[in-house]
């Protein structure tokens, strides 16, 4: 929280008990383990660092091609490439100690047991401030149906993780559902401390020369400005129904985008694809929020949360 000048706006927010100096976080899978953008800005400029999705076992990820550019968007099918939780704990998280921002680890799995295993392991790491649960993964016991696609599956996995860890639990929802509010309420009830909205939209692209899908994985997740209207609508819908805070993301590139999410009800925002376009995106958005508050006489950024439906 900024206390240096009486007139400087207070950008601080608190999510799931995690205190952040500003509401700008990184999006999982787009910032590695925090080591890659340090030439562009120090991590202590961030509200929080959310690291790449971590699974029980190491994963090599999908074969290439893994990326396709689409109009104002990006399709990715990385396939959760990560070194596995043990190596993450041993090698990737320790450098983050003392980085000046809370560290949130995104976790993924194909069974509730896998999630719980990873959550328990990470609970023993003092550097970890919270867990973000990616429930867009296929549930092998439910025939590959994504955990996040049905309220019962989502609620079940969250309940089990809740029992396995005392860390703050942030549940990241999939936008590929008929009724996001239903899923949000189910995971809130199952013990989530906060929600992240949203993961990527399922999409694809075809190479008309090869007459085949462009991604080796066939489908991929759409991120970036193209998806912003959908993500924003979901934040708007969910934040009015749940009591826990919502982290908004999907296509944020500018401070104006971030303000849209905050006014729609997000207590914080995250930036993924935006970092690829501008490697200083997160800090520039945080500075932009500060400038907006100064110009508009907003004392606390938290006063703006949900104003579009509160006022």
């Amino acid at each position: 929280m900024n206390t240096s000048f009486a007139k400087e706006p207070d950008l601080g927010v608190e999510i799931a008990g995690i205190k952040m100096k500003n509401p700008v976080m990184t999006a999982s899978g787009t910032f590695g383990f925090g080591e890659l953008y340090t030439d562009f800005f120090p991590l202590d400029q961030l509200g929080a660092v959310v690291v790449k999705g971590v699974t029980r076992e190491a994963r090599a990820g999908n074969p290439p091609p893994r990326l396709v550019e689409t109009p104002s968007g990006l399709l990715n099918a990385i396939g959760l490439e990560n070194p596995g939780v043990d190596k993450v704990i041993a090698e990737y998280l320790p450098p983050l100690a003392g980085c000046g921002a809370p560290v949130i680890v995104n976790i993924a799995g194909n069974t509730a047991e896998d999630y719980c295993y990873v959550a328990e392991k990470l609970s023993e790491c003092p550097v970890v401030s919270g867990l973000e649960i990616n429930i867009s993964c296929p549930n092998v016991k439910a025939g590959g149906l994504a955990f996040g696609s049905r309220a019962d599956l989502a609620s079940d996995v969250v309940r089990q993780i809740r029992a396995a860890t005392a860390l703050p639990l942030i549940v990241k929802l999939s936008p590929n559902v008929t009724d996001i509010v239903e899923i949000a309420l189910a995971v809130e009830e199952a013990g989530a401390d906060a929600l992240t909205l949203v993961n990527t939209l399922l999409g694809m692209a075809i190479d008309i020369k090869k007459r085949k899908p462009r991604l080796a994985n066939i489908t991929g997740g759409l991120s970036g400005p193209a998806m912003k209207p959908v993500a924003l609508r979901m934040v708007w819908q969910v934040s009015q129904q749940v009591k826990i805070p919502v982290i908004g993301l999907g296509g944020i590139v500018t401070a104006a985008d971030a303000l849209e999410f905050i006014m729609a009800g997000a207590s914080a925002v995250a930036i993924g694809t935006g970092q690829f376009i501008n490697p200083c995106c997160c800090v520039e958005v945080a500075e932009g929020l500060n400038a907006y508050c100064l110009t508009h006489g907003i004392k606390r950024i938290s006063d703006l949360i949900g104003v579009a439906w509160k006022e």
């Binding site: 074969p63 290439p64 990326l67 550019e69 990715n76």
Partner: protein, 257 residues
């Protein structure tokens, strides 16, 4: 160190035959760039096309603070770049990636480039030239690109064109094979289309000549964050390398050519 220079002043853009030479001011990049590294350029003002485009550094002039890229207009992003003119500004990130290994001296080395794949080799040749005996092998469809390469580089060179409009009519690897019958260089450096790299690698392995190649891949972040630019490790090894961070320059033994 990597830099984001959102408004690098364009000093010149020259349309050469088949390609463009863009010169912009980016003192930090000019200072620190190593041959084989690339810059990542935002081409549109809006969000379509969304992603930056990777381009090899063709020349770095630290004294003037200038960087030169040499590129072909193959799609929407590069087409937008062709509109840049002196006094405009360009949004650049760099220098990125692992460049060529330049810890070599007193040796005979071959640089083998196809098309605009010659771009990083021109920078590399300049760097290695004083301390080594260098031969450049350049191939292309026609004389267009190669004439620009001749202007940009003073290295002793062999040229091959598919249409015979300059030098040998045929593939540059045919020239390479002929040369290898006469001498055995200490190292190959190569950049160009996949077919050419595969043939260069075959020739290098046959004679046990160490080879470094510069690879391409679609990229999003350019810094190793998105894990999107992966390439096979080859030799049946599991897992992937990131072209943007582990490369774009690899030893041929590291990758699948």
């Amino acid at each position: 160190m990597k830099y984001h220079i959102p408004r690098a002043p364009v000093r010149a853009q020259i349309k050469t035959r088949e390609a463009y030479l863009l010169t912009f001011e980016a003192p930090e990049i000019a200072q620190e760039a190593k041959p084989g590294q690339f810059v990542h350029i935002k081409t549109a003002k809006g969000s379509d096309p969304l992603l930056r485009r990777p381009l090899s550094i063709c020349r770095a002039l630290p004294a003037e603070g200038l960087v030169v890229v040499w590129y072909q207009a193959v799609g929407r992003g590069t087409a937008l770049m062709t509109e840049l003119m002196a006094w405009d500004e360009v949004d650049v990130v760099g220098p990125l990636g692992r460049g060529f290994d330049t810890e070599i001296a007193g040796e005979k080395v071959y640089l083998i480039g196809g098309g605009v794949g010659l771009a990083p080799l021109i920078f590399l040749g300049q760097k290695l030239a004083g301390a080594n005996e260098i031969t450049l092998f350049g191939g292309a469809k026609n004389a267009g690109l190669l004439e620009t390469a001749q202007d940009l580089s003073a290295l002793p060179a062999f040229w091959a064109t598919e249409d015979g409009s300059l030098g040998h009519r045929g593939l540059v690897t045919e020239l390479l094979k002929q040369s290898l019958e006469k001498e055995k260089p200490a190292r190959f450096y190569s950049c160009g289309p996949h077919g050419m790299l595969a043939e260069v690698a075959r020739l290098a392995r046959a004679q046990n000549i160490p080879l470094q190649v510069s690879l391409e891949s679609a990229m999003a972040c350019g810094v190793g964050a998105c894990l999107g630019c992966s390439c096979d490790k080859g030799s049946g090894r599991e897992g992937y390398l990131k072209v943007c961070k582990d490369g774009p320059v690899f030893w041929d033994t590291e990758v699948n050519l």
